[in-house]
């Protein structure tokens, strides 16, 4: 049982993540996705927003998505409490400064903006979309990695 408390290898965690695709469809009839939760949070936070994207968002029909991300959050806690995952330490110390924090904020903005513009993130496009053999999701996944490689190269140059 000791292995449970070690980091889980890819051949255990990858298939488990993959199983969430049919599990969500079978148990709830829902398509795996995470980033639309940000759209719903925006709609809820500003119910009188005039922006079409927020006004026309029927978030009341998508409450399951918020329940799902709440589950992910609880899951992070469960992993630390019952499965020996380390508490914190998933981001480097250099983000714990004013400059680093600003970079992290900009990075978060790129993630939120990009995920909504692309209509999906790593879960909705890379896992769900590719598992469903959809070519637009392949284009999305290639773009995710192209952007990531580009930024990694840029950061390597400047930091």
């Amino acid at each position: 049982m000791d292995w449970v408390f070690q980091p889980w290898p890819w051949y255990v965690s990858g298939p488990l993540i993959g199983l969430s695709v049919p599990a969500l469809l079978l148990l709830a009839g829902k398509t795996l996705g995470v980033s639309s939760s940000f759209r719903h949070l925006c709609s809820i936070a500003t119910p009188n927003a005039q922006l079409t994207y927020l006004r026309e968002n029927l978030w009341r029909k998508e409450v399951w998505n918020l329940v799902f991300v709440l589950g992910i959050l609880i899951g992070g806690w469960v992993a630390t409490q019952f499965f020996g995952a380390t508490v914190g330490g998933y981001l480097p110390d250099h983000y714990d400064t004013w400059g680093g924090g600003l970079l992290l904020l900009v990075g978060g903005m790129l993630v939120g903006f990009g995920a909504r513009y692309a209509d999906g993130c790593t879960s909705g496009h890379a896992i769900m979309g590719l598992a469903n053999l959809r070519w637009p999701s392949l284009v999305a996944t290639v773009s995710f990695f192209a952007g990531g490689l580009l930024m990694t190269a840029l950061l390597g140059l400047f930091i």
Binding site: L41, G114, R116, P136
Partner: protein, 162 residues
């Protein structure tokens, strides 16, 4: 008398239907929550929520995250194939419908932007929530950023190519 009886019978039927509807909705939410918790546990335990792992992925120093994602896609694809093949229905008794995401230019432009943010933060949306739950409080900044970024998209959407 008879009419009254019929009415109450109808009311009973309606009440029963309502009752089973809420029960099924509750079961649906509980299922979603449980799958979400499992998803969060696995993201955390596989350490794909770690900025260091994502860096090593983008630097091609480690195959771990590639293998996690690759095997997740393969298992997900097999699962979907079985669902479609057996024409299974959801627990709610509905035909399974997968939400489609048609191609538009944002998939490329947004995808590139997203990837750049992913390399900086070491977290895509799922891991942001898992990081928060695992006590990584710096992720609050990423979370706030992603929220602002979503607002920015909502605001700029009419002016962006799609």
């Amino acid at each position: 008398m008879l009419r009254k009886k019929l009415l109450t019978h109808d009311q009973h039927a309606i009440l029963n239907a309502k009752d089973s509807l809420t029960k099924s909705a509750l079961l649906q939410y509980v299922s979603v929550l449980v799958v979400g918790i499992g998803f969060g546990v696995v993201l955390t335990k596989s350490e794909v929520i770690s900025w260091f792992r994502i860096q090593r992925m983008f630097r091609f120093e480690e195959a771990h995250v590639y293998l996690v994602m690759g095997s997740a896609i393969v298992v997900g694809a097999i699962g979907l194939w079985i669902l479609k093949r057996l024409q299974l229905k959801s627990l709610q008794g509905e035909t399974i419908k997968i939400k489609e995401k048609p191609f538009q230019k944002g998939i490329i432009f947004g995808g590139l932007t997203f990837g750049m943010g992913w390399a900086i933060t070491g977290a895509c949306p799922g891991p942001i929530y898992a990081q928060l739950g695992s006590g990584e409080f710096l992720a609050l900044i990423t979370f706030a950023g992603a929220w602002i970024g979503s607002y920015l998209y909502a605001y700029m959407r009419p002016y962006l190519p799609h």
